[in-house]
């Protein structure tokens, strides 16, 4: 969803917007390489960088952001006419477009669809199509032909979204299907792209037009979803012998060692998370007193049962350790955490937010010094949600 934002006020002093920096950087680079004939510099020389405002801007050097949006939307190269959507794009240079998925957001000079702020009336079923603009084609739910059954009728009246009215696909949303392809239309055996799909195959970006539960290709860890234990865990995988993902990414280094299953030195499950008061690792929010007073100090949440076992009282300093690092935090004893019984064994869990660091209005230890560099096999997201640690009163 693209939602156009207007500035509330001009930036104070020498502050400048992100577009200002990007535009000025591009202009300087183009100037630097303008005289170059080296092939490697021709990218700069051929770069189209025409965002100069027609009227002098209130802040000198600001680009015309609507010109940027126009380039993202796409236009006819010769006439500069705005394109209405990606179906108008050509691969012969006669059209220019920065990003096909956004094509259609700015179909005419006076129609910035991302700036629309018109919700559907209360109580009226709809997709709020006049609020902002969603890619692609202002469609709000992808593959929405699947909201209707094979005959094209809604699965339920309450959840109706897109359906076949006898002539075409209609509904609250922009249909994600060939508009006039009837539910009973057969696919063309030699057809290319959508033509090969029948009226019963809603997943139009898949080669076979159907959703997959069994995914033999595409995923590193298919074909079925299953349960693996995390890379570090106090228990054996209760589902089958394969303990954890055989294709997980583990960067094997001395400072990235993993705890073996059931190692008594690190008996507790730990999870890390965010608080609403801080942003990511806190580099920005730790400087804002209105936020730091709300969450001033790093803490570790633990159950009263574990606190009693370890002789830890609320607000005591606690030492948390893994083979990767040792940090300190204040104890927040709460019944929101509770001991699990897994395979007959009592397993304690602790939790820590990770917003602190060594600089800011408030400071604290870095929780990611505890985590292991273990990545999921598809997108390498690191596994900071479940690992093991030890907890001692500091």
């Amino acid at each position: 969803m693209l939602q156009w934002h207007y500035k509330a006020a001009d930036p104070p002093g020498d502050c400048r917007s992100d577009p200002w920096f990007t535009y000025q950087l591009g202009k300087r680079l183009k100037k630097r390489y303008a005289a170059s004939t080296l092939p490697r510099d021709q990218g700069f020389n051929n770069l189209l960088w025409d965002y100069e405002p027609e009227q002098p801007p209130s802040i000198p050097g600001e680009p015309d952001v609507l010109k940027i949006l126009k380039e993202i939307n796409g236009y006819e190269t010769a006439t500069s006419r705005h394109l209405s959507g990606f179906s108008e794009l050509k691969d012969d240079g006669s059209t220019t477009c920065a990003s096909w998925i956004y094509s259609g957001v700015f179909p005419a000079p006076d129609k910035n669809l991302a700036a629309r702020k018109e919700p559907d009336p209360p109580g009226v079923m709809g997709a709020h199509l006049n609020w902002g603009w969603a890619w692609p084609a202002n469609r709000r739910v992808l593959y929405n032909r699947a909201s209707a059954d094979l005959q094209g009728q809604p699965w339920s009246e309450r959840k109706k979204w897109v359906w076949w009215d006898g002539q075409r696909w209609v509904g609250y949303d922009v249909p994600d299907f060939a508009l006039t392809k009837a539910p009973d239309a057969p696919g063309e055996p030699d057809g290319i792209g959508l033509a090969a799909l029948s009226g019963r195959q809603p997943f139009i970006m898949r080669p076979d037009g159907v959703g997959w539960l069994f995914a033999p290709s595409g995923l590193q860890d298919g074909p079925f979803p299953t349960h693996y234990e995390p890379a570090e865990t106090p228990v054996q995988n209760p589902l089958y012998r394969q303990q954890n993902s055989p294709v997980l990414k583990h960067w094997q280094r001395d400072d990235n060692r993993l705890v073996a299953v059931g190692d008594p030195r690190y008996p507790y499950v730990i999870t890390t998370y965010r608080l609403t008061e801080h942003y990511l690792a806190g580099a920005m929010s730790r400087w804002n007193p209105w936020l730091t007073e709300l969450m001033p100090e790093l803490f570790i949440e633990l159950s009263p049962e574990l606190a009693q076992e370890k002789g830890i009282a609320n607000l005591d300093w606690v030492k948390v350790s893994t083979p990767r690092g040792i940090i300190k935090a204040k104890a927040l004893v709460t019944r929101r955490l509770r001991p699990f019984t897994i395979a007959g064994k009592r397993v304690h869990q602790v939790g820590m937010p990770w917003h602190w660091g060594w600089q800011g209005v408030v400071t604290g230890d870095v929780v990611n010094e505890l985590t292991a560099m273990v990545g999921d096999p598809n997108v390498s997201i690191h596994e900071g949600k479940a690992f093991v640690c030890n907890v001692e009163r500091a």
Partner: protein, 276 residues
């Protein structure tokens, strides 16, 4: 007066994000306590601790978990000045700094307040405190400046779940009734409205939907006004005055009896001074 305006806070949809607290501070330019450097309170996720002169919104976190965790809920409630129709602070303010606005809200005018603190003791909800920046008593103004320009208060604007709703009290009460009935129908029999009843300090212009007794949220079941003592105090004062008056009369009569013969027999200066 325009229609009475206020807050309806549905605590069942509060997620404890504290956006109301930050929005309030930003709009009203209230400083952070100790420059933002505080100690962890150790009381759930609440580090604000209480309403005071620089905290006009306070999200309370109430953890209710049985020892075996079979029963468990984490109550959250964004507390604020109740803008009572019968307001204790307004009753006691000696300078007239506390006024009732055209929106039926209660506002302390900082430029009239002399910092005497009477209102702090008079408020049954512990809402008011001295703002160290101004040296005067301060609390939620229900964003009087925003209301005058047709804007809703900053906290209600920022609330992502509409737990804090702003509007005409009459409408809010209807909405709150409907919500309460909806919760009852869904089996949450504990839901009730706190302060929506006109017999409750005349009705609170910031009322709540709660799911436990008021004390669980740190609210009084029976908030009391300073004027509850007015009749008795007046009676005692009158009685006291009468007694004193009689005492004086009797004293004077006694003096007259004793002094008269003294004066005829031209007593010493010492004796006369003793009777002055």
């Amino acid at each position: 007066m325009a229609e009475a305006m206020g807050f309806y806070t549905d605590t069942t949809v509060c997620i404890g994000c504290k956006a109301c607290e930050v929005a309030c501070k930003e709009w009203n330019q209230l400083p952070a306590a100790n420059g933002g450097v505080r100690e962890l309170s150790g009381n759930s996720y609440d580090n604000t601790r209480r309403l005071d002169g620089i905290h006009w919104r306070h999200v309370k976190f109430v953890e209710q978990f049985s020892a075996d965790r079979r029963d468990g809920r984490w109550l959250m409630m964004s507390d604020v000045c109740k803008h009572c129709v019968q307001a204790g602070c307004l009753e006691v303010c000696p300078t007239g700094a506390i006024i009732r606005t055209e929106f039926d809200t209660v506002v302390i005018q900082s430029n009239v307040c002399n910092g005497c603190r009477d209102c702090i003791a008079a408020c049954p909800f512990g809402v008011i405190e001295i703002n160290p920046a101004s040296g005067t008593a301060q609390k939620c103004t229900l964003c009087y400046d925003r209301l005058q320009h047709g804007l809703e208060p900053a906290c209600a604007k920022a609330c992502p779940t509409d737990s804090i709703q702003f509007g005409p009290i009459r409408e809010l009460r209807e909405r709150a009734q409907a919500r309460m009935q909806q919760l009852h129908a869904r089996g949450e029999a504990r839901a009730y409205l706190y302060g929506a009843d006109p017999t409750f300090l005349g009705g609170l212009n910031a009322f709540y939907l709660l799911v436990d007794k008021p004390e669980a949220y740190g609210l009084p079941s029976h908030p009391k006004l300073p004027t509850r003592n007015l009749a008795f105090s007046a009676l005692w004062s009158t009685l006291g005055a009468v007694v004193l008056g009689l005492f004086g009369l009797f004293s004077l009569r006694t003096r007259g009896d004793v002094v008269e013969p003294d004066e005829t027999s031209s007593g010493t200066v010492d004796e006369r001074e003793r009777h002055v």
